[in-house]
């Protein structure tokens, strides 16, 4: 029997359910970006260090370059595109990032926002030290992090 090289998966992303046939070796980030055309999540490295591809997977923060798309079969995924409520307003974290100039080029921002959201979902009153720890899996090359930490701190209760 030929080895199976592709598989049909069903994934719910930002509340919408998609059924797609994917190559077994396709990374989740490429599935999200290329197959679903949700290009907010980014790729910044090939080793799982940078966090630009961070998404929330069944309530847990993951780096989507470290998972295969087939592993997401049946999963519920949140990406930056699903962060803002639908009334045209921004999520509190998005607004705070803008207020604090916590982004420049914006490339790390979607992953950074998802990390911050996962952190505050689990620990709404995170301290500065906990915020630093919570964001250490995300690299930003523009801001030096100071404003990012301030932005998250402002949203933490």
């Amino acid at each position: 029997m030929e080895p199976q090289t592709s598989q049909t998966i069903t994934v719910t992303v930002n509340g919408e359910t998609y059924e797609r046939e994917v190559e077994a070796r396709r990374l989740l980030i490429h599935f999200i970006r290329d197959d679903l055309d949700l290009t907010g999540s980014h790729v910044g490295c090939d080793t799982g260090n940078c966090g630009a591809c961070s998404v929330i997977y069944n309530g847990q923060l993951v780096k989507s370059c470290m998972l295969l798309a087939v592993q997401a079969d049946g999963a519920r995924i949140e990406t930056v595109e699903g962060l803002a409520p639908e009334d045209g307003k921004l999520h509190a974290l998005q607004q705070s990032f803008s207020d604090h100039h916590a982004l420049q080029c914006g490339y790390c921002t979607p992953g950074m926002l998802m990390s911050a959201k996962a952190l505050l979902d689990a620990n709404p009153s995170a301290s500065e030290e906990e915020i630093r720890k919570g964001l250490q899996g995300n690299i930003c090359r523009c801001t030096g992090y100071w404003n990012i930490i301030d932005a998250v701190k402002a949203v933490a209760r």
């Binding site: 190559e23 070796r25 396709r26 490429h30 290329d34 055309d37 949700l38 290009t39 907010g40 999540s41 980014h42 790729v43 910044g44 490295c45 090939d46 080793t47 260090n49 940078c50 630009a52 990406t79 930056v80 595109e81 962060l83 803002a84 921004l90 998005q94 607004q95 990032f97 803008s98 207020d99 100039h101 982004l103 420049q104 080029c105 914006g106 490339y107 790390c108 921002t109 979607p110 926002l113 500065e128 915020i131 630093r132 720890k133 964001l135 250490q136 995300n138 690299i139 930003c140 090359r141 523009c142 801001t143 030096g144 992090y145 100071w146 404003n147 990012i148 930490i149 301030d150 701190k153």
Partner: protein, 825 residues
């Protein structure tokens, strides 16, 4: 690891004069709404039907002859669209134009390796396939036979007779050399009471590693012969003049399109070889090509910052600490190709004396090629290396002569009352007050209480150090300086373009020639336009990014070299004023009064004396664009204004290597406190202060953001970031596991401050300031030298000081001390 986080409120040392309008206020950034929602468009977000994905086959050897390439197995794989190899490139293109005089001029550089590879990771072939994964698989099927050659990885050995030669055409590994001498150097040394000799200093190889790697989506239009290149190249003007002649095509056939770019820092200037390869593939395979560089590929091949040695340095000093002059031999390691080099051989001269009144300088510059990744601009390009050198000289001199580094700086800084100050080589420092900045830095770092902090650290068994880095961020290049390395080059001056138009429904639309990568051009341009047209920044729509089709660019368009606040905003101001003039001209016809009696305010052109006599801008746009019957025949109004900003520059004197090389000089004074564990060499930056002076600030929050970013880059470079090669030419830090960039946990407590010394030479009093001069590297080196002094007075001789290097200094201080000698009269 840190006790406080937030930068203190910027310390206002001098209140700027009261100004109407939005300039100087922190309006919300226009870019943010799309970027925080993941709605930015970076090149890899561009999708095209039938697009093929390119994967590069790269050299595993640092130096080798290519004996054969066989792509047949790759091409036979289902889903593979085709390949490209060096032989085809050599037939279809000419080598890239070289900026150097001979011998560097003889170097042949193509889009892919032709016959030989010269560094690990050099592109040898490309495979294009239906998916990213398949392209990568197929690339593994390309069979390349190599005949390995010896490698040169140490610039100091590059010119030894037995060292292998990279480019036979050039005869040796020398790419460029030049002697710079100004003032009376011999006289300075004759007058000196002390001569401090430093045998060897080393500025390390690193780069700013933007989070988005290089790449492009390239389409070819067979009917018109035109390529559309969606790319994150940050200097399309330069890419075009490199690519056009090589591809034997006119520049109009190369359309560059960019919306958002994920960081650049100079590292995305020299992607032209890869772009040429993609253009050839798009034409050959009749399909759009996506090239997305992987992180490891970026580290292996792209734009390392110039590694530089300073050899046999001598500093002439008076007994009272007055600095008379210096001489040194700068040895620059350019890597395997000269993609932007040897411009680094002159760019440093923009800041020849640093912040100091050194009048007598000799610098012998030698640049060599080695079997490492090619060097290209990196935030602080070439000046950072030289400024690190000047700051090292200051601290080493102070330590060796028992002088206070603060006092030596204050004594020798160029003084505020000397501005504008002409340096020994004819550069004009436009404005500034370095001593005052130092005072602010000392206040923020808590200089008064240093003795207590030192005692406290020592009571905990730590070594305590304090250091300063004072630097310049020279901005707005006079490209005429390229003639100091090659008198035949036909470049000089600088320019940037903007257009501002008023459309039918009153839309104000601004287009720029620049390619921002986070520098907030949409926001600052909107502020400038709003203040001139009497509207709000919300009323101004600044198109995101760059498109050659907008016809809003010139030869030097791009975003690099700390210049937007001068060139870009200068163009925006010019275009907005032109438009304002046209609106008034139209208003005078409609309202029936002289233009001089009109003003633009609150969205109207109106009579100053009677605000009721007013025409909304929307009506102006509608009249000219859609309702113009009956207007006077000679009314020369289009409401579509284009302006080219051209800074006032003369050609430098090639013989004397003398002239004004940059228009503005932003300044930085940083101060760092470190605590070092004497047992392990592990150290922590326990407090940090960054003071900036970039003249008039259009948007203070954005300026502070750039200061923070430059600080973070400098701290990364000072402590961990390094491109280390082994003797065979293998890069040991090819990804973010091994190449440690700062994380959120690493950042020290930071305080920022500023003063404003408006530039007398620019339209808005602004100065370019994005690069920052690397002051953090210098401050950390100085602080470490101070901290280690009680342990045998080691000399910090390298720009990068990871813990193991500090440990080595602690273990064997004498080894570093052998680099220094003081000869006193």
């Amino acid at each position: 690891m840190t006790e406080t986080l937030s930068p203190a409120q910027p310390l206002v040392v001098e209140e700027g004069e009261e100004q109407r309008g939005f300039a100087g206020t922190n309006v919300p950034r226009k870019e943010d709404k799309r970027l925080v929602q993941g709605q930015g468009v970076y090149f890899d977000d561009v999708k095209r039907h039938g697009m093929g994905y390119a994967h590069f086959v790269r050299s595993p050897y640092a130096h080798a002859n290519i004996t054969s390439i066989d792509v047949s197995k790759a091409e036979a794989l289902e889903g593979v669209y085709g390949t490209l190899i060096g032989e085809e490139v050599a037939a279809l293109t000419d080598p890239f134009f070289q900026l150097a005089t001979p011998p560097g001029a003889h170097i042949k550089d193509y889009a892919l390796a032709v016959g030989k590879v010269r560094h690990v990771g050099e592109p040898v072939a490309i495979v294009v396939a239906a998916t990213r994964e398949l392209a990568r698989d197929a690339a593994d099927l390309v069979e390349v036979d190599y005949e390995p050659l010896g490698a040169v990885t140490d610039a100091r050995r590059a010119l030894d007779p037995e060292t292998p030669v990279l480019h036979e055409e050039a005869g040796s590994n020398l790419s460029w050399e030049g002697v710079y001498e100004w003032g009376d150097v011999e006289g300075a040394f004759a007058e000196a009471d002390h001569v401090v000799k430093i045998s060897e200093l080393h500025f390390d190889r690193f780069n700013s590693t933007p989070l988005e790697c290089d790449g492009a989506v390239v389409e070819y239009n067979r009917g018109t012969g035109q390529w559309t290149i969606h790319t994150n190249n940050q200097f399309p003007g330069f890419a075009a003049i490199m690519m056009g002649p090589a591809m034997r095509t006119g520049l109009d056939k190369l359309r560059f399109v960019t919306q958002d770019i994920g960081g650049g820092f100079g590292n995305k200037i020299t992607s032209h070889p890869q772009l040429v390869a993609c253009c050839l593939l798009a034409r050959k395979l009749h399909r759009p090509i996506n090239w997305t560089e992987w992180r490891t590929e970026f580290h292996l091949t792209m734009s390392h910052g110039n590694e530089r040695w300073f050899l046999d340095t001598e500093v002439a000093v008076k007994a009272d600490g007055t600095l008379l002059g210096f001489r040194t031999k700068a040895l620059d390691d350019a890597g395997a190709f000269l993609r932007y080099e040897p411009l680094g051989g002159v760019i440093w001269a923009q800041v020849t004396p640093g912040c100091y009144r050194w009048r007598n300088v000799r610098l012998d510059f030698t640049q060599v090629v080695t079997n490492k990744a090619p060097c290209s601009p990196n935030r602080g390009y070439s000046r950072m290396q030289h400024l690190w050198f000047t700051e090292r000289m200051i601290d080493i001199v102070a330590h060796e002569l028992g002088l206070d580094p603060v006092e030596v700086r204050k004594k020798n800084y160029v003084k505020a009352e000397e501005m504008p100050y002409t340096t020994p080589n004819g550069c004009v420092y436009d404005s500034g007050d370095y001593a005052r900045m130092l005072d602010v830095a000392l206040e923020l770092i808590g200089y008064e209480g240093l003795a207590e902090r030192r005692a406290d650290a020592e009571s905990r068994g730590k070594l305590f150090g304090f250091g300063i880095g004072s630097t310049l961020d020279s901005g707005t290049n006079n490209f005429g300086q390229s003639r100091l390395i090659n008198p035949e080059l036909q470049f000089s001056g600088n320019n940037e373009v903007a257009t501002v138009k008023l459309d039918i429904f009153g839309e104000i639309v601004v287009t720029l020639g620049t390619t921002p990568q986070g520098q907030s051009h949409e926001t600052t341009a909107a502020i400038v336009v709003a203040d001139i047209l009497g509207v709000t920044p919300d009323d101004v729509n600044v198109r995101a990014g760059h498109d050659t089709y907008w016809n809003s660019h010139a030869g030097f368009s791009g975003t690099y070299a700390s210049q937007f606040a001068v060139t870009g905003l200068g163009a925006v101001k010019g275009a907005a004023e032109k438009l304002a003039g046209e609106i008034k001209k139209l208003g005078s016809v409609i309202l029936g009064c002289p233009e001089s009696e009109l003003e633009l305010a609150d969205g109207f052109v109106r009579m100053k004396a009677n605000a009721e006599a007013a025409l909304p801008l929307m009506a102006c746009g509608a009249i000219i664009n859609a309702n113009n019957a009956g207007l006077p025949e000679d009314l020369d109004v289009t409401l579509n204004a284009r302006y080219v900003y051209r800074p006032p520059f003369e050609l430098p004197d090639v013989e004397r290597k003398y002239g004004n090389l940059t228009l503005t000089y932003a300044a930085q004074v940083h101060a760092a406190l470190v605590e070092v564990d004497p047992e392990t060499g592990v150290y922590e930056i326990v407090q940090y202060a960054a003071i900036d002076d970039c003249g008039k600030r259009i948007h203070p929050q954005i300026v502070e953001g750039q200061v923070m970013g430059a600080t973070a880059h400098a701290l990364g470079a000072a402590t961990h970031e390094t491109f280390t090669y082994d003797a065979e030419g293998n890069l040991l830090t090819p990804n973010f596991y091994d190449y440690h960039v700062p994380h959120a946990m690493d950042m020290p407590p930071l305080k920022t401050g500023y003063i404003e010394s408006p530039s007398p030479f620019t339209a808005l009093g602004t100065k370019g300031m994005g690069e920052g001069g690397g002051a953090g590297i210098h401050a950390v080196c100085a602080a470490l030298q101070d901290a280690l002094a009680p342990r045998g007075r080691p000399v910090v001789y390298d720009s990068c000081n990871p813990y193991h290097r500090v440990w080595e200094l602690l273990q064997d201080p004498e080894a570093s001390r052998r680099r220094v000698e003081v000869i006193s009269k």
